[in-house]
């Protein structure tokens, strides 16, 4: 089962995503961290989060691009955090804009095909009314298309607002 979870900064989407993972019946909990680590502050942050998740039984895998390369047991639940980072890494630092949509979309579908459950965290960056310069606008458009395409494939779609999950798709609403 694939779940897509979105929300603004500080909305509580990560905590809700972890709850979804903990509710999965899969034997292994794998956290797929997509953030590029820059400098000491990032490193300390990552260490702290890694420690917090270890207590919840997560194994952390860092994969900033090409998520299809990640190997894991089939009875796993994966938490990919997050799509906005992965998309930025792929476009600005990876193989670039050419074919980026298919590359990222297929990478995630590959994870979904091999995992028991997949939870994808994405980001709400689309309602600030700002007209961005070309490259940023292109990035936002790509992320919005990925969000839509994944929502279509997902079994459940949630928007988290003030820590409250709004269920846009799926019958799992009563569980939370």
């Amino acid at each position: 089962m694939m779940s897509l979870i979105s929300g603004g900064s500080g909305s509580g989407k990560s905590a809700f995503a972890e709850q979804c993972v903990v509710k999965s019946a899969a034997a292994h909990r794998i956290y797929l961290a997509t953030m590029e680590v820059w400098g000491e502050e990032d490193r300390q942050r990552v260490c702290r989060h890694r420690e917090m998740r270890r207590e919840k039984g997560f194994v952390t895998i860092e994969q900033t691009k090409n998520v299809q390369e990640v190997v894991f047991p089939s009875d796993s639940v994966l938490l990919l955090e997050d799509l906005s980072n992965l998309t930025a890494n792929e476009c600005f630092g990876g193989a670039g804009w050419e074919g980026a949509f298919e590359r990222i979309f297929n990478g995630i579908l590959s994870l979904n095909a091999r995992a028991q459950d997949l939870v994808v965290v994405t980001n709400e960056l689309f309602s600030d009314g700002i007209q961005y310069a070309e490259e940023t606008a292109q990035y936002l458009d790509l992320l919005a298309r990925l969000n839509r395409a994944l929502a279509e494939r997902a079994d459940a779609v949630y928007e988290v607002v003030a820590g409250i999950p709004i269920c846009w798709k799926g019958a799992q609403r009563e569980l939370f």
Binding site: S6, S127, L140, R148, A151, W168
Partner: protein, 122 residues
Amino acid sequence: MRLIIGAVGQGKMLYSMKAYGFEETERASSFEKASKAKCFTHLESAVRAALKEEKDPFFLTEMLLQNNPDIIILCDEVGCGVVPIDREERRWRETVGRLCCWLAERAESVERIFCGIPMRLK
């Protein structure tokens, strides 16, 4: 009149074409052309243009609804960012929000689209 709102890139256009059965050629994105169209897209841009020309978007909308009471209006949600420093930007953003409130009160239905998925608010 129906109002369909949602953030940029959420698939409002594709959804409304499918849900209400109209073609791309039947949509307009200015107040003038919208009087004969099935669908008025990017109301937020039309509001920007109207403000620039010192026209009242509420008056233009009221005229539009008199001429075309069954129109489907699509508008981007633009109000969830830091308050813009630029006065005109602030004015635009707030006008779009208030116009959506005004339209929502009069609309037969209001839907919000998120990742291509509709939620009926009214």
